[in-house]
Subunit: 210 residues, 2 copies
Amino acid sequence: MKSEHIPKATIGRLAVYIQVLENLLRDGNDVISSEKLARACSVNSSQIRKDLAYFGEFGVRGVGYYVQELITSIKQSLGIDRVWKCALIGVGNMGTALLRHHDFERRGFQIAAAFDCDPDKIGLEFGDMEIVCPTHLKEQAPEMGLEIGIIATPPDRAQRAANHLVDANIRGIINFAPSRINVPPHIPVEYVDFFDHLYSIAFQITLGND
Amino acid sequence: MKSEHIPKATIGRLAVYIQVLENLLRDGNDVISSEKLARACSVNSSQIRKDLAYFGEFGVRGVGYYVQELITSIKQSLGIDRVWKCALIGVGNMGTALLRHHDFERRGFQIAAAFDCDPDKIGLEFGDMEIVCPTHLKEQAPEMGLEIGIIATPPDRAQRAANHLVDANIRGIINFAPSRINVPPHIPVEYVDFFDHLYSIAFQITLGND
DNA sequence: ATTAACTTGTTAAAAAAATCACAAGCTTGC
DNA sequence: GCAAGCTTGTGATTTTTTTAACAAGTTAAT
């Protein structure tokens, strides 16, 4: 197989595979079968083989997958075999936590610029970055090669932030603010809200009760 | 319709509906049709009606849904019409950010106890909470009515944290650590990793390029 | 060199989820 | 009181996703 439409669920699982594979590698596993990987990920082994088949043939029949090689292949398939520069808008609680989050670099994402419209925050230094007004986005984005926008504003400011990002020709947006945004259809948007997961847990617990 | 198996995707969308409905209510909308709500959520209107139908009949034919009433009904359906007490394990970067996150209370979740096995952290005050050793979980959980466990440890400590939670009869777990955990099947687990969404954005951008 | 034991990639079948389409029901205006 | 205009709830249909099944390819042992 190769190319055609790829389910979003597949992308989510690929992220899981990477995580588990990296832990396997750390534990000294060089080769793994889809069956064993499947158990470690709590999915069906056909599922794994099918997910991978969208992107190519990465295994060896009768043997399995070489772990390091597979990690590299999946990362290439997802386009995360390079550094993506991100623009953060909104340096409140969430934004600050993101700036402090060490995993960004390790995972291939770099918050290269931080924006906030609060006059009290503008000018503040954050590591080697200075917080500036979002109006500067349009000029800084191309200069700095910013490609992904991270919205971490209060909900009522999210749309404005999105407008700034679109105007600055950003290529994709991840929105931590609890509100929907409208952008042109060629710009992918992902919404992040970990309370979704808490709701799901609460629901599953409640369900198990009756 | 009513009860039967409910797709996980439905739960995810109900969370979106709540978010959008709350914003609609704030903007003074008292009634809304599935068609308009669908547009605001970027989904199909039948989808909304079907999602709601799993839980009951909340609308009025010819009229639509009363916004406040619908919010209440969805929250009841999900079991988030009450406060859930949570135990946090791991007070590092992520754990601290969670403790500082103001939305917990507003959304019906309360981090009522914080645990960490680092001797430098044990004894530290956090608001009105003191960080204690995870070995105390088993005794504190029933006393305090802790029902949900939040794992925010480094990846190699996640399984141990999970064991403590299971041992303390916690009813559900949300895992922020980037590693899979094994728990008895009756305990629901949700994995949270917002890099999944960054991967997805990177992939969608890359895909659009060629 | 042949057999036995594995494991992948892929086609076919099954299951699940999303969408359509419409009868049933509410509201308003005349 | 009735017709016209909406909008829900739901059975039927379509689409998508997952799972099963197996031919094709690999390795190791005899």
